[in-house]
Symmetry: C2
Subunit: 334 residues, 2 copies
């Protein structure tokens, strides 16, 4: 390194900066140093590790929820195993996507994984033109067949959760699903409806609510449903955070879980096991979903078509202490 510095007429620190990709070196100096490095076969002497670590960019609207945490954790671990880096990009406002895309392309990105957000056609075209691969976890809006998508078997998971409640004897089961514009919310709602029908139970439109996967809206919906004359004896919450909102609504209305109200969540975040009582929930393999998306963008273009690359990973119902048969009085009444 010191030979190269001497020959280029710069300091060793400058050569080091060039190797690090620092922007504090003028383009002229960088070119000169890189040419010398190239002439001396500097890279080859260092072995394969001097290949720059590829960066995989996660695009989120918010970090601060346990679902996102598990995705980030899974992506970071998968990236580490592949000697890649995961960058976390919080871009709450769609209008800022453009400048964000410029930024990440300028500093180099191997691929973008979009979570709970949506890129415009133009933005996708920019990424495509620059050879940046793209994957989506849980798409918003209609899934784009040209983009590989990773999700979980939302319909089957919701079906299993609702069947579990029906088998315990519940007849009035409330459902709080996610946002209207998300594919996974619609699939969960439909899984609930199908299982209710299969059990011969009527579906009351008053007991089906759109949420936003967060605590507060679910708290309001649960308070409203549990204050009805014929309140539900069970609620299926479309996320574990929404289940926390239902738990708090039940506590304030003096309804014990599970003896007076059964509750099932969705996600099975690590804290579900520590809720009061421990939550029955539909487990999504969030870390594995993230790892799949990371592998997809790193293996850019190696799968024959996006259809082959889009997957739904299996969900499983984890039964804990928040579900039980309905209270006797209610069973008689219904």
């Amino acid at each position: 390194m010191s030979d190269i510095a001497k020959e280029a007429g710069v300091s060793v620190a400058t050569v080091s900066k060039v190797l690090n990709g620092s922007d504090r070196v003028s383009l002229e100096t960088r070119s000169r140093v890189q040419e010398l490095l190239s002439e001396r076969n500097y890279e080859r002497r260092q072995g394969p590790r001097t290949e720059p670590t590829p960066i995989v960019d996660l695009l989120l609207r918010e970090v601060s929820n346990p679902w996102a945490t598990e995705i980030i954790a899974g992506a970071a671990e998968a990236a580490r195993n592949a000697h890649a880096t995961v960058a976390v990009n919080v871009v709450p406002d769609k209008r800022d996507h453009g400048s964000w895309l410029e930024d990440i392309c300028a500093r180099g990105t191997r691929g973008v994984i979009v979570l709970l957000a949506r890129l415009s056609e133009k933005e996708k075209a920019v990424l495509h033109a620059r050879g940046v691969s793209l994957a989506v976890i849980d798409p918003r809006g209609e899934p784009d067949p040209s983009v590989p998508t990773v999700g979980a078997t939302n319909w089957a998971g919701a079906y299993a959760a609702t069947r579990h409640l029906a088998e315990l004897g519940h007849k009035r089961v409330g459902m709080i699903t996610g946002p209207r514009d998300m594919f996974c919310s619609r699939a969960r709602l439909d899984g609930y409806r199908s299982a209710m029908e299969a059990a011969g139970l009527p579906v009351d439109p008053e007991l089906m609510r759109w949420g936003d996967f967060h605590v507060e809206v679910a708290f309001k919906h649960a308070t409203s449903m549990l204050s009805m004359d014929r309140r539900p004896t069970a609620i299926f919450a479309g996320s574990d955070l929404q289940a926390m909102g239902v738990l708090e609504a039940a506590r304030l209305l003096n309804l014990a879980v599970p003896s007076q109200l059964s509750l099932v969540g969705f996600d099975d975040i690590p804290l579900s096991r520590w809720m009061s009582p421990p939550l029955t929930s539909v487990r999504q393999p969030l870390a594995e979903m993230a790892a799949t998306a990371v592998r997809l963008v790193l293996s850019h273009g190696e799968a024959p078509s996006s259809e082959d690359r889009s997957v739904e990973l299996a969900t499983t119902l984890v039964v804990r202490e928040s579900t039980a048969p309905p209270p006797r009085a209610t069973r008689k009444r219904s």
Copy 2:
């Protein structure tokens, strides 16, 4: 771009790859293209946004806890405001730090923020030699005076929490702090001890436990303390996750919170407000701590000395529904 491609004898896609920093272009080609770009003043025509976005690397041992989530969220937001990128690096094993440092230096890093982990002197020297700045949030072991450190006023927060319990009339107060080798755990324990002494209350060594900031160990400590003949009427948990463990222990022992057991957490993560009951907790400004660390590493070397750059941000006690006066029987007995 197409002119440059023609002159360099490569495709437009290759020029684009060089601009993106892709590693799929040979060093020879990259140098040639960059030289042409430089001659044509390509960068200057694009304005300031073609400066590569600096990368700030977070080093964590684990992502999957709400404390880490808030730090990542705060860092990502601060980075976005500064047109920088936050990369999340989970390196659970100290032995892997070396190869990780090589990786991030090879792809370029502006600075490293270490959370709940520890770099060796040699690793710090590597970063220093390469001009990569370093900051630590909540150091493990003795803080290194040469490295800027960001934390919260742990001692004062613990003092305020314990005084709150003493003022409510609690005399036997248990404390579950964090890991032994963390500065913040020791400060929280000492704040508890000082407030107990100031209130004229004895400190029972049986009621002081070392935790690990996670749910499970706190659950075990709480179960053990709450099964004692003279059980504590209040517990101060060194983190909100630990408070969740105490809540579950209390539930299984049929102790109602707050009427039979008062509970204070530490951190004030967003979910604290949604615990059953909503948790009284010591708020750490986690997002602001993360933003401070990001600013520190991005402004590398601009502050006169590390002493001036190391800060403790203020904590505040947030009183919710998990604290109340002790039960009457216990008050008489003590």
